[in-house]
């Protein structure tokens, strides 16, 4: 369409932008303010006296690299586990016939609509009974299966033309080779974009590790952040903002690295 009449759109997009982007700017901005300045002019976009003191304090007070490593390690474990289980389950749903298939798929997808809040306690109790409290396995295990992933991979497999697999079948290619040599490379963009999503979700996971982890050494970033914002912690906003800013670095790096896949996202299949 034409380039004219875009003023209205610009205004609209600016409003949307304010709602979406401004909080991030505030966060970054306040992380460079002193406690005093942030009290007086918390909504000031550009700090009057920018300081790195908050970041320095963090370096001293908390084991920053330990936190990042813990978070990264768990997020990576969860991501690979979920990708693997989702792809296998999706292949089963797409390529095999078995009884109750549709019903099972229906139930799987239904679990997307069950709030995590409501199944947190049963999960906690199972983990407790298994003696896995305060362990990495306890945090990771209940996250290993994800209906969203199964659904997205099933969708992606649907878009791979049947003829590709039929050619392979006629040529007598074993199934595991079809999976490794054909499906995985063809789904690469999906694996990357869905994987990024899994990683980010796990990276940001806050409530569940709170329940399972008590040992400060195995704390993740969101847990540490809680110390500065919860009613129990202090109210040192600039410090919290500095930790927040550190926390978004890894997800943003992942986004920038894989933006091509993520922007093409969920719907592409790697086939042209």
């Amino acid at each position: 369409m034409s380039k004219s009449k875009t003023l209205g759109w610009h205004l609209f997009l600016i409003v949307i932008c304010l709602i979406a982007v401004l909080p991030v700017v505030f966060m970054l901005s306040n992380s460079f303010k002193t406690l005093r300045e942030s009290y007086h002019s918390i909504l000031q976009l550009i700090p009057l006296h920018p300081t790195l003191s908050n970041y320095k304090t963090l370096m001293q007070e908390v084991n920053l690299f330990g936190l990042i490593w813990n978070t990264f390690f768990m997020a990576t474990l969860v991501t690979f586990g979920k990708i693997f289980s989702s792809m296998l389950a999706a292949s089963a749903f797409q390529y095999y016939d078995f009884r109750w298939k549709k019903t099972l798929y229906f139930i799987f997808v239904a679990t997307i609509f069950v709030p995590f809040t409501t199944i947190m306690i049963p999960n906690y109790l199972v983990i407790a009974k298994l003696n896995l409290l305060n362990t990495v396995v306890g945090v990771v295990l209940p996250q290993l299966c994800d209906a969203t992933g199964i659904m997205l991979f099933t969708k992606a497999l649907e878009k791979i033309p049947a003829s590709l697999l039929e050619v392979a079948a006629i040529d007598g290619i074993p199934r595991w080779r079809i999976f490794v040599n054909l499906l995985i490379p063809m789904l690469r963009p999906n694996i990357i974009s869905i994987g990024a999503m899994f990683f980010i979700n796990s990276w940001n996971e806050y409530v569940w590790p709170t329940l399972i982890l008590k040992d400060k050494n195995s704390f993740t970033l969101p847990l540490a952040l809680q110390n500065y914002i919860s009613s129990e912690g202090g109210t040192n906003f600039p410090l919290a903002m500095a930790l927040s800013s550190i926390m978004i670095v890894v997800p943003l790096v992942i986004y920038i690295l894989f933006q091509r896949f993520i922007l093409n996202s969920i719907s592409s299949t790697g086939l042209k």
Binding site: S163, V167, A169, I170, D171, G172, R177, N181, L182, K272
Partner: protein, 360 residues
Amino acid sequence: MENGIKIELKAVSKNFKKTKIIKEMDLLVNPGEFLVLLGPSGCGKSTTLRMIAGLESVSAGEVLFDGKNAQKMTSLQKNIAMVFQDYALYPNMTVSQNLEYALKVHKVEVDVRKQRINKILKTLDLIKVANNYPSQLSGGQKQRTALGRGMIKQSRLFLLDEPLSNIDVQLREKARDEIQYIHQQNQQTIIYVTHDQTEAMALGDRIAVMDNGKIQMVATPDEIYNHPRNLFVAKFIGSPQINLIAAKVNNNCLNKGKLQLVNDLKQITAYQFQEEEEIYFGIRPENIQLTAPKKEHVVGIVTQITDYGRYQQIIVEIATDLTLKVISNDTTTQVGDEVGVVFNTDKILLFDTQNGMNLN
């Protein structure tokens, strides 16, 4: 390379849910034969091919490979190559890798592989794009790669499912020549599915015309064109379509209203007609001559002339709402001319109006 395989279908049926897609089909494909399955979309020709390939189960009947039941054979034992309509190239592999993959998986020696690949790349003019991925290929190149991937297996049976329907008209002539060349070189049995009659006529040793899940006729291109077994085959083959007129038998003549189409039916067929029986009179457009109108002729007015360069298509109105299409090389006829219509007697086809069978 081994010789072509013999394929037999014995009373093969295919049901999808409650619909019968293929109805008790019998078909024999001789070793080394090039058989074309021809029919309109939805006639079951692709399903037949897929049953032979083993991609679809057979609901009833048997598919035999050299007399052995194919359902019990593994894909390695069957040794089939197949080219799909959408080419089905592995998108994550280059042209060479596409050709090589199956051989590599089945541990064919590197030397043999390289040699076969190079030969095929050369034959199909793919050397320049050997390291390109499918998404970087033109339609024709994709089609040739798919063909090459089928050829490299040196199988005894080569199945092709509308391999030319996705490429430009301009390239099809060349592609047809290539497929013909491949068949001449190797002694494979080829089963080729298409909805394009020109392709079928050009390629097939024999053509099996299908409609509605049944084979209507299996014969050589010449037989199919000149002696169609029934109305469907007569209408499906030939472009422009055959002219058909419902007419009545009357005292050894065939009349449409006041027009006399045939004045001596016995000369055309030995079939015993009943008096007043209605039958279809069929004549292909090129078997009609236009002359100066005389008394004994069916007379008509030229209403339209389309020049196709090599030939002209002339529409002649011989009665209200009754026109004939005529193919002619004569360029003197003008729109509005009154012309005499002469039918080439030994090319006239007669069909039963009830069951469509040829009565010649």
